[in-house]
Amino acid sequence: MIERLAELVNDDAWLVKRGRLLNVTFAIGVDETDYLVRIVDGRIVGIETGPHVMRAWTFAIRASARTWETFWQAVPPPGFHDIFALLRKRLITFEGDLQPMMAHLLYVKLLLAKPRELAAA
């Protein structure tokens, strides 16, 4: 899923435009693996799969593989449809400097939900 995130996001001109003011490296955690996603002007320019040694990120969004799988269903069940729904269920963590994440929350949410398009196809 995450392997194809870059093309899913970068092919969506509208989404890239929404994130055009965001420049950040953030981590998506799936079980024990961190994927470092580097965003430049709203485009994903690189995704590095962990383990990482002394790599810095600005914020990290982590959940279990099972949680992400459910979240990425084409139509996820109630409680798995939004990262803040996962937060209320205590199934996800947000760490680090959350300011860029909150300032670009809609973009971050849409980016994280992008793999649903693969499930729908």
Partner: protein, 262 residues
């Protein structure tokens, strides 16, 4: 090509709230039993435009949706620039009764969503004699603070029109409404004493709502003898604006039951 004009009329109401003059915007359509609609935190009465445009509803109901002070087209009171806006149970309750009085609504039905669904529980507790029936959408007696409201920007609805409403909120207003929702307006102690024989209480909650979740509404309904709770399939926190068609399937039977009860 003929332009379509909706049957909704919008007007401004001047009234005193807490002794201060206010200019409140409201929209209405239809005639019959007054149905006073209460919007969600940080939003405004436009959320109810589908109801206001629904001939099946407006045939028997005078649907009224007002924008709370500081919201939508309603002005904040004079001197607002020196004030930190905060909604409280007392302020919210007084506002609803004042609007009902100013518009001379006789025993209206009040229907509120989210913070509106919360205040409806307080109306059922404190002023059942003033209402023909009460309808809480996404009602919960209390919601834990599962996120830090200091971050609040706008919530995460995916019906874009609802998102647009939220993008238009004034700074700090959503947060001020959440003071009521998350801090001050905890009605868990009160709702056990709600007498649904005095005023019927209906609760409609969308299954995708994770703020006032089905479990939260069920917990509230379990404490209120006679409360009628329905969980709405496929709907979320903003049923009337995110999916009006899905919502009316649940609302129409409730309105019909209220109407036929007389």
């Amino acid at each position: 090509m003929t332009a379509a004009i909706e049957p909704i009329a919008g007007r401004y109401l001047h009234l005193a709230l807490e002794g201060q003059p206010h200019r409140l915007y409201f929209e209405e359509a239809g005639q019959g039993i007054p149905l006073l609609c209460l919007h969600t935190a940080g939003a405004d009465g436009r959320q109810f435009r589908a109801l206001l445009n629904d001939p099946e509803i407006t045939a028997d109901y005078r649907v009224i949706a007002f924008d709370m002070p500081w919201h939508g087209k309603s002005s904040p009171p004079e001197g607002w620039q020196r004030e930190d806006y905060q909604l409280t149970t007392e302020r919210y309750t007084g506002m609803i009764l004042a609007v009902a009085d100013a518009l001379e609504l006789e025993r209206p039905v009040a229907m509120g969503c989210s913070i509106g669904g919360r205040i409806v529980l307080n109306l059922a507790w404190a002023h059942p004699e003033r209402f023909r029936a009460l309808i809480g959408l996404q009602s919960a007696a209390y919601v834990e603070r599962y996120y830090d409201a200091g971050w609040l920007n706008h919530p995460e609805a995916h019906k874009w029109e609802t998102v647009w409403h939220y993008m238009q909120g004034g700074p700090g207003i959503f947060q001020g409404d959440l003071f009521f929702y998350q801090v001050e307006g905890d009605v868990r102690d009160r709702i056990r004493d709600i007498d649904t024989a005095k005023c019927p209480l209906y609760m409609l909650t969308g299954e995708y709502d994770y703020s006032a979740s089905p479990a939260d509404s069920e917990a509230a309904a379990a404490l209120i003898p006679g409360a009628k709770l329905t969980i709405m399939k496929g709907l979320g926190h903003f049923p009337m604006s995110e999916n009006p068609e899905g919502f009316r399937g649940y609302l129409l039977p409730v309105l019909e039951e209220i109407r036929s009860a007389g």
